[in-house]
């Protein structure tokens, strides 16, 4: 069968890339002329590739006599496949390698084989290093996996740490913030504490030997210079990091490791060293001079507490340094915990050292050090991420709506990555205009990394969109990634995929194959269509109720008119029609037909669009009562976008109607975790509790939802149902009135009438009902059958109520889908006619 045209071009491009043979004639058959032309061009490219491949390979590589510098892949050493060389020392090479047995990536330190004679000393050194490492097990120390001899070469292999050395970070990105430097150094302290506890000294602590992994973990590497505490090995280490007493020929001690840690801290804060010199002698000379003068100077931006810690670690006299690395670590952690709550790091005033202040700092350090043991802060992984609303850098309401649309689209893209937990848009909107610190926001949202940025549209030129982004690791002020993008409108949705990929890498996560394919697509759209689409997403993201979704619908229709093959606006339009139908702003039958058409069109254009599957699921469930189909579509949507809180909430609601209450509550909880400040996700949790007759929980949830969005009519209405279920009809009436001040929907007015009937005011209820029916008739509408039925029941007309309810079931009115679990119907639940109706719902 012929694949769809663009897909066929993609497949042929892959074949050209792979160098596989292609039957050009057959592959072009049945395609449009444009596709055939594209394939023709690919054939030219294939010819170019073929020509190059035909050039003699051996000749090309001739002269490359350094075998070890050849490209990676292939050679084996024992059970390891050497992938590429990542480091080279005098006596050993370090490779990234693959452990075939344990199926994991490792770093292999392999002694160089010069083919002449075995270097016994080097062998012994490497084995000693392996044994030292094997004695230490600590999260901040590289973990050794094994050491062996194969084919005459000794190697030791350890965990492969993905990240950058602190030296590299400072060199390329500049010095760390005080908090970040102190945090990293404290982690290294804890690693060295473990080293010392194993009876060893590290002796070569330096920024080059510490790697910050992509997820922020600090790892101490390279134990080649390590030695037993108390032994007298020859001087080792890097001179600029050496304590003065070691430089002068003394033995390495715990105190000298502490000094090196102080140099590391100083370097991270300043990019310089406390004592610099180009030779051993020069260094010694400077150390002597320093002993007479004042301590090392740190820039005023360094908080006094951190500066005091650095100064103590760098004391020339070992006895005046910290007594242990644990004490050093405690002092550091104390120094970076907020001394004055809410005070930003950048507001530190220049520090003038005074005895009083030093004393204060010492006391504080002591206090914090004592408390530290009680404090155990769980580290939230960087893969739990929140995208803060992108700020509109250009003026005008349009720019701000588009910024919202871009934020929403970006969150939707990230939500598609299985290995990420992405906070939903509704929950980040509250931080739209806020001066909260990133750490506070991250802590409130329970995430480990935060993406912030701004967007502006250069409408003067060719509507170029400029996006500036920063990905920050919470708790460290460290940028995991940052980038500026300029894209013409029309390429911005494609850009969002590119950003999502970069962010995924930035937090150290990996895309699986299908995700990479989906997020790598580069759809090009008509500029106007994309602009309108982003506006619509911006509107829809603003949690609009009732008629407020109309501008979104207009914008989506414009997008589709400008670019009918743009899939996403069809999906959003389907979603908007479903909303209009629910809010009774459009006849249900029309809403159904339009929503279904748009959802199907969206899926024809892009079968991987999560929103389209969610819309289709809503339609299957509400309008077609196709429980199995709906569940399949919800699951498909969630497989494509695991962090999509909205799809999960809807799925939870369907499960509750199906009577699968435990699953429903679990899904609702997961949705709320991804969307902790969303009134909608919280309402769903409240609803689940209501259907389970956990009325106290339900009321608490609904009140919470209302604190998040006091204008959320659905939450007021549901709260009134809870009051009703508890028998407080007066309160129920008051709560519905509140909902009706926001959106006056006929079915809710019917609910109000029903509650009036329940209070005993049957006359008033009947009058209100007549009034409502007259108003509806004037607009050629009628009250939905189920709501009439509920009023009948409240008025005591059981037969009339059940008959109407039966008609509602026969006409597949979506309102009765929950009748099996709806507390409002508890009074008739035992009736055989009711049981028969429930059976007709077709629940699986």
């Amino acid at each position: 069968m012929q694949a769809e045209p663009q897909r066929e071009v993609d497949l042929i491009a892959s074949s050209v890339a792979d160098g596989s043979s292609i039957d050009w004639e057959e592959r072009s058959a049945g395609l449009s002329s444009r596709e055939r032309r594209l394939i023709f061009h690919l054939r030219i490219v294939d010819a170019v590739a073929h020509l190059y491949r035909s050039l003699p390979q051996d000749e090309i590589d001739a002269g490359d006599d350094d075998e070890r510098s050849a490209a990676p892949a292939g050679p084996r050493w024992g059970r390891l496949i050497l992938l590429d060389r990542i480091g080279r020392g005098a006596s050993a090479d370090v490779f990234r390698a693959w452990d075939v047995d344990l199926e994991r990536e490792v770093a292999l330190k392999l002694l160089v084989d010069d083919g002449v004679m075995e270097d016994a000393a080097a062998n012994a050194r490497l084995l000693r290093e392996a044994r030292r490492l094997a004695r230490i097990r600590h999260s901040h120390v590289v973990q050794i996996h094994g050491a062996e001899r194969h084919e005459g070469r000794i190697g030791l292999w350890m965990e492969f740490v993905r990240g950058r050395t602190l030296a590299d970070i400072v060199q390329t990105s500049g010095v760390l913030t005080p908090a970040s430097a102190a945090g990293a150094c404290a982690d290294v302290c804890s690693a060295v504490t473990a080293v010392h506890a194993a009876g060893l000294l590290h002796r070569d602590i330096k920024a080059q030997n510490v790697i910050r992994e992509d997820d922020g973990r600090i790892v101490l590497m390279d134990f080649g210079a390590g030695a037993e505490i108390g032994s007298r090995p020859s001087v080792a280490g890097t001179p600029i990091y050496l304590a003065p007493e070691v430089l002068a020929g003394g033995a390495a001690t715990v105190a000298s490791d502490i000094y090196s840690l102080g140099v590391l801290l100083f370097f991270l804060l300043t990019g310089r060293y406390p004592v610099e010199g180009s030779s051993f002698d020069a260094l010694l000379e400077r150390h002597r001079a320093r002993q007479q003068s004042d301590a090392t100077e740190l820039p005023p931006s360094v908080p006094p507490a951190v500066a005091a810690v650095a100064a103590r670690a760098l004391q020339p006299n070992p006895a005046e340094r910290f007594g242990s690395t644990a004490a050093f670590e405690a002092a550091l952690r104390g120094a970076i915990n907020p001394v004055v709550p809410g005070r930003a790091a950048s507001t530190w005033r220049p520090w003038v050292a005074t005895a009083a202040m030093t004393l204060m700092v010492s006391l504080l350090v002591a206090t914090v050090a004592n408390r530290r043991t009680e404090r155990s802060v769980p580290v939230i992984p960087a893969t739990a991420i929140a995208v803060l609303p992108l700020q509109a850098a250009s003026d005008g309401p349009e720019a701000s709506i588009i910024a919202d649309g871009l934020t929403d689209e970006l969150i939707a893209k990230l939500a598609q990555v299985q290995s990420l937990r992405v906070t939903a848009h509704a929950s980040v909107r509250r931080f739209r205009h806020t001066d909260h610190r990133i750490d506070e926001i991250a802590s409130q949202l329970n995430v480990g990394s935060v993406l912030t940025g701004s967007v502006s549209i250069d409408s003067a030129s060719d509507s170029t969109v400029h996006v500036n982004l920063r990905l920050i690791r919470a708790g460290s002020d460290v940028d995991l990634w940052s980038q500026h993008f300029d894209r013409p409108l029309g390429n911005v949705v494609a850009l969002e995929g590119e950003i999502a990929r970069a962010v995924t890498r930035g937090v150290g996560a990996v895309l699986n194959g299908p995700e990479a394919t989906r997020l790598s697509r580069q759809p090009q759209h008509v500029a106007r269509a994309e602009e309108a689409y982003l506006q619509a997403r911006g509107y829809l993201a603003q949690n609009r109720h009732g008629d407020e979704v109309r501008p979104a619908i207009d914008a989506l229709q414009q997008a589709i008119a400008a670019d009918p093959d743009f899939a996403a606006p069809h999906a959003e339009l389907a979603r908007a029609y479903v909303l209009l139908g629910f809010d009774e702003l459009m006849p249900q039958a029309d809403a159904y037909a339009l929503a279904k058409r748009e959802a199907q069109r969206a899926l024809e254009l892009n079968p991987d669009l999560p929103d389209a599957h969610t819309a289709l699921a809503d339609i299957s469930f509400y309008y077609e009562w196709d429980w199995v189909g709906a569940e399949g579509s919800y699951r498909q949507a969630l497989a494509l976008a695991p962090s999509d809180a909205r799809a999960r909430s809807q799925y939870a609601r369907m499960l509750s109607a199906a009577g699968r209450t435990a699953e429903a509550s679990a899904e609702a909880r997961t949705a709320a975790a991804a969307d902790p400040f969303s009134a909608d996700a919280t309402l769903t949790q409240g609803l689940m509790a209501y259907y389970e007759r956990r009325y106290d929980d339900a009321a608490a949830m609904l009140q919470r939802a209302l604190r998040m969005d006091p204008r959320y009519p659905g939450a007021w209405l549901t709260l009134s149902r809870v009051a009703e279920a508890r028998g407080d009809f007066a309160e129920a009436g008051r709560l519905i009135d509140r909902a009706l001040t926001i959106t006056s929907i006929a079915s809710w007015r019917a609910d109000r009438i029903r509650v009036r009937a329940l209070t005993g005011d049957r006359e008033g209820a009947r009058n209100d009902l007549s009034q409502l029916q007259r108003e509806l008739a004037a607009r050629n509408l009628t009250l939905d059958l189920p709501h009439e039925a509920y009023i009948d029941l409240a008025l005591g007309d059981i037969d009339g109520g059940l008959n109407r309810l039966s008609d509602a079931v026969a006409s597949r009115d979506p309102s009765v889908l929950w009748m099996a679990v709806d507390p409002r119907l508890d009074a008739v639940r035992g009736d055989a006619r009711f049981k028969a109706m429930v059976a007709r719902l077709g629940r699986p």
């Binding site: 050209v16 061009h41 690919l42 030219i44 010819a47 492969f160 990240g163 390329t172 992509d214």
Partner: protein, 201 residues
């Protein structure tokens, strides 16, 4: 069995990886080993590229390999403040240096009066192997489309099609998270190239 994972995008990962940037930095400071390492990294692919790109007659003037080798040594020596964003960028820089070098070479030869001799040659001999293979018009179309691609797309096409790097190498040199990601990026770049070739009419 699971496949080995690949290197993350942002390059310098792992135990003291010697990235191109590191090597360049060290080479600038006079580290001969770093220079050698860079040299052996880039020589094979540049040679291959030159063999396809240089017209037969320029290749006759001097041994192509010598030209490549000299260019590489000179370029690396005088690399100054060049800060490649990724390894593919250095590739591009070195190719440009090679093209400039060949131009100089041609100018010198022309001044020496070889031009008339060149003109009288059989057209095929004046053409590069590439031109001979696909014809000058198709080559021109390919070339100009290649230039219109985004730099990253262009480098991906050249790396795979012309330099013959495998996906694993492309992933490493172009900052792709895996060989599979590199393969997809190359395929996409090829589609973009075909579209550009089509737009050229």
């Amino acid at each position: 069995m699971r496949q080995p994972p690949d290197k993350p995008e942002d390059g310098p990962a792992g135990v003291g990886i010697a990235t191109t940037a590191d090597l360049l930095q060290r080479a600038r400071l006079g580290d001969g080993d770093a220079l050698n390492e860079l040299y052996s990294r880039y020589l094979p692919s540049l040679r291959r590229w030159a063999r396809g790109r240089l017209p037969q007659w320029t290749r006759d003037l001097r041994d192509t390999d010598d030209v490549v080798q000299e260019t590489l040594v000179q370029s690396l020596k005088h690399i100054g403040a060049f800060q490649p964003r990724h390894e593919g960028a250095l590739q591009a820089y070195l190719r440009q240096a090679l093209v400039n070098r060949v131009r100089d070479e041609v100018r010198r030869t022309t001044r020496r009066g070889v031009a008339s001799e060149i003109d009288s040659r059989h057209p095929d001999e004046a053409a590069s192997p590439l031109e001979q293979a696909i014809g000058s018009e198709a080559l021109a179309r390919y070339e100009s489309a290649l230039q219109r691609l985004r730099a990253e797309e262009r480098e991906l096409v050249i790396a795979r099609v012309e330099l013959g790097l495998n996906y694993q190498q492309i992933a490493v040199s172009h900052g792709k998270p895996s060989a599979d990601a590199a393969r997809m990026a190359v395929s996409r770049a090829l589609v973009r190239l075909a579209e550009e070739m089509d737009d050229a009419g």
